[in-house]
Amino acid sequence: MKTDSAGNLRRRTILPFRIKFEERISDVPKWYPFMISFGAVVVALLIGAIILLLGGGNPWLTYAHIARASFGSIGVFSDTLVKAIPLIFVGLACSVAFRMKLWNIGAEGQFFMGAFAASAVVLIPILPETAPKWLFIIVMAAAGMLGGALYGFIPGILKARFNVNEVISTLMLNYIAVAWNNYFIFAIWTEAGFQMTKVFPQNAWLPRLTDLGSEIPFFRGLTTHFGLVLAVIAAIIVWLILYKSRWGYEIRLIGDNPKAATYAGIPIKKHIVWVMMLSGALAGMAGMSEISGVVHRLQGAISPGYGFTGIIVAWLAKLNPFAVIFVSILFGALILAGREIQPSGVPKMIQGVILVCLIASDFLIRYRISIVRQGAEA
């Protein structure tokens, strides 16, 4: 494939040199994409600082505050990890779907449905309050995954059967999920007219480090919960699926070239539904872990946009399940610290800038850029 991608830039003859883009015809070293992503994040933080300045804030103080409020002590780092847990699940959910170029933007809705289904186990109730902890965790996790998976099934089947654009359908379903949840916390499971349910029994809580505080004093007050272990297990499973299994091969093939996949006899429509369900299940698991590990009740404000941040996490991690874990911790920090930052839109803005820079930086991976003196190529 011969390209002359300089086409659009050719008209810049005013400058004594011009920037030349050439498509890379050889592989880049493995570290290169990571360096580029890192550079993109740095540039993004700089741009974010400029926007903050324009908006009347003090970028230096803001960034310093974010760092201190999230990594400053073992206690706040533990809180950062807590915020990272749902991000890992959601980041994995997006990685799986994006690997197939299935734009599941509905992780937020699937998160809510997972939280809803997990809560239902306690609130209907499916299990009595006296049921043992291990049983609660297993049943609630299963319910959370099922809730998310079923909610992922809807856009999946709509795309497979009617070719409905999944970006829009999953987004619409986000709004619907929030309204659905609101109905239950306002009308059905409300506690004394407040917009939240009663607190779950202790047996329905995921164990936390602080629960071990009596034996290991170091853990006292640390909120990090068992969800972290589950999240790491999920990352390993997703890695096995994507890179070591036949299914993962099929997903990658469809993601890269659906026509080639059809040609190889892979039923794409079936995979769309299954991958959307897997993605939904992971996002639903995020909802379950947040409900059972942190909030301990169902209420309206359970997500500061985890589902959307997960998109950025997945993208920054280049869809690699293990990288998702580390990136999630960084964004967990941003979300944790962001709660106290004024103006309140800062974390969202920074996330937006990071994503924009990341996407732009991909160009550097695909193309080699050189500066050519104008005279050299008359």
Binding site: K2, E22, K244, S245, R246, D256, G265, I266
Partner: protein
């Protein structure tokens, strides 16, 4: 055309290209090439695929910019920074893939990019002008028709009109006959001769020797970006001479082919009907058989249902009616897996878009059809080491030039990409193979290799359906040839009679031909 002037030096040079260099990443596509076009001539530009013909002409048409070199038009030095500049200088290129917007009308397409009418498109008025222009040059079209409703030949006429409307004096035609039936080619040639007589000049890009001999006044031959013959007279050059200039060595025009020994019927299709991508009827009751140990050719002008037939046979397209029976099982309307299970392999026409996953590695691409089989599959897992080992074996066996089997195939050259596909499709030891344009875009050496591989498969007992638009290739490889026209089989040719095939390609049925012959004999 200026009567009988003997004074060659008085012939005006319309285009002079000097020392043109153009480099693409990894390829020197044009290496100090000189080219000259005289007024009123048809000048053939001859060369293999990848020899740099299209690159050179794209530079002349303003689409690419040369790295160095100069272009003179009518004696004046010019620099084109876009096709618009080239057109303004009277140079119009008609690309192999027509540059027509399918959803717009003929008139709209012709007026595209012009400055008149300035704002409001007063189409009625211009429809009339287009009709008049068409009459002047003998190129009748319906100006109100949408492009997608037109046949390929008609679309080509629109392309020519588009350039004439812009006042082009030099027409560059990039492989204009590739999409036409022999009879349509004759019409095109007489149109071109007519235009030359009216003072236009034509550059005719081709790699088909007989056409070049038939139509051109002079010719220039390119090989690997270099000139091997510049502006020589077409007269007195034998095909072997031209071939040597193109390829750089003697070319044997016949293949060493053993007599085929057809075995049992492997594929039988009965009354197959299907639609194309535009939901129009593409196949209309196609029936034939292919036996093991034979190559059956399918001839036809592009777009007469060949692609759809290949799709239907390999499970990529829904079949409205009919049966596709492979080894006794009807696999119509099952997915590609059903075919793969019966040992159907498929060399698709569109290698990059259908045959491979560009960003995946060579390994991932060669295991596409057998990743569910041991040893590459281990239960639900994929055994990556054995997949890599398999890929390395194929790489050595089929001479795939690639640094590692983990390299993404998008970085491979066309020939290597085709070898990846062939390696995959042949190594599965197919019982039935659909090969669509398997040699398109390859250089002569590679073509021979592919053809030998196909024959080898045939001799090993595979049933092969070869779909190609290169009649020569079809005739030399196939044991018998079916001709398809508008989704129907016109008849079967066993003796490789080009004229008969040509008539069938334009819609004459075998029965009609026989009747005509009988009448003639009477």
């Amino acid at each position: 055309m200026n009567s009988t002037s003997d004074l060659q030096q008085q012939v005006r040079k319309v285009v002079e290209m000097k020392a043109i260099v153009k480099r693409f990443p990894g390829v020197l596509a044009s290496d100090r090439v000189d080219f000259e076009l005289q007024e009123g001539e048809i000048h053939a530009l001859l060369g293999e695929n990848g020899a740099g013909k299209s690159t050179l002409m794209n530079i002349l048409a303003g689409l690419y910019k040369a790295d160095s070199g100069s272009i003179k038009v009518n004696g004046k030095l010019v620099t084109f920074s876009s096709p618009k500049d080239a057109i303004a200088a009277g140079i119009g290129m008609i690309h192999q893939h027509f540059m027509l917007v399918p959803s717009q009308t003929v008139t709209e397409n012709i007026l595209l990019g012009l400055s008149k009418p300035r704002f409001i498109m007063d189409l009625k008025n211009y429809d009339q002008k287009i009709i008049e222009l068409g009459e002047k040059f003998g190129l009748p079209v319906d100006p109100k028709a949408k492009i997608w409703q037109l046949s390929v030949g008609e679309q080509q006429r629109v392309e020519i009109l588009k350039m004439l409307y812009r006042g082009a004096n030099v027409l560059i035609m990039d492989e204009p006959t590739a999409v036409l039936a022999p009879q349509e080619i004759d019409i095109l040639f007489s149109t071109l001769k007519n235009m030359v007589a009216m003072g236009k000049s034509v550059i005719f890009i081709s790699h088909k020797l007989h056409e070049v001999q038939k139509i051109s006044d002079r010719l220039t031959v390119l090989r690997k970006g270099k000139i091997t013959a510049g502006g020589v007279s077409a007269e007195g050059k034998s095909r072997a001479d031209l071939a040597r200039l193109m390829v750089g060595r003697e070319v044997i025009f016949s293949l060493d082919k053993k007599l085929s020994i057809p075995g049992k019927v492997v594929l039988r299709i009965e009354d197959v009907h299907c639609l194309n991508d535009k939901n129009l009827k593409a196949l209309n009751g196609v029936e034939f058989e292919v036996r093991s140990g034979e190559i059956v050719g399918l001839a036809g002008v592009a777009g007469n249902g060949q692609k759809e037939l290949a799709d239907v046979l390999t499970g990529l397209r829904h079949c409205l009616e009919g049966k596709i029976i492979i080894q006794g099982e009807n696999i119509a309307n099952m997915d590609a897996k059903a075919g793969i299970r019966h040992g159907v392999s498929h060399i698709p026409e569109d290698r990059t878009h259908v045959g491979t996953a560009p960003n995946l590695s060579v390994t991932d691409n060669v295991i596409m059809k057998n990743y569910t089989k041991k040893p590459i599959a281990r239960g639900w897992m994929l055994d990556n080491p054995s997949a890599d080992k398999y890929a390395r074996e194929l790489k050595d066996l089929y001479d795939i030039v690639v640094p590692s089997v983990n390299t993404p195939v998008r970085l491979l050259s066309g020939g290597n990409l085709q070898r990846v596909i062939l390696a995959r499709e042949i190594s599965s030891e197919p019982t039935f193979m659909v090969a669509m344009q398997p040699t398109r875009g390859l250089d002569v050496g590679a073509i021979e290799g592919v053809q030998k591989l196909l024959l080898l498969q045939r001799d090993a007992g595979a049933a092969i359906l070869l779909i190609s638009e290169e009649l020569e290739e079809l005739i030399s490889l196939s044991d018998r040839i079916f001709v398809i026209y508008e989704g129907e089989i016109m008849g079967e040719v066993t003796d490789g009679d080009v004229e008969k095939i040509g008539l069938m390609m334009t819609g004459t049925r075998q029965e009609q031909l026989e009747k005509m012959e009988a009448q003639y004999e009477n």
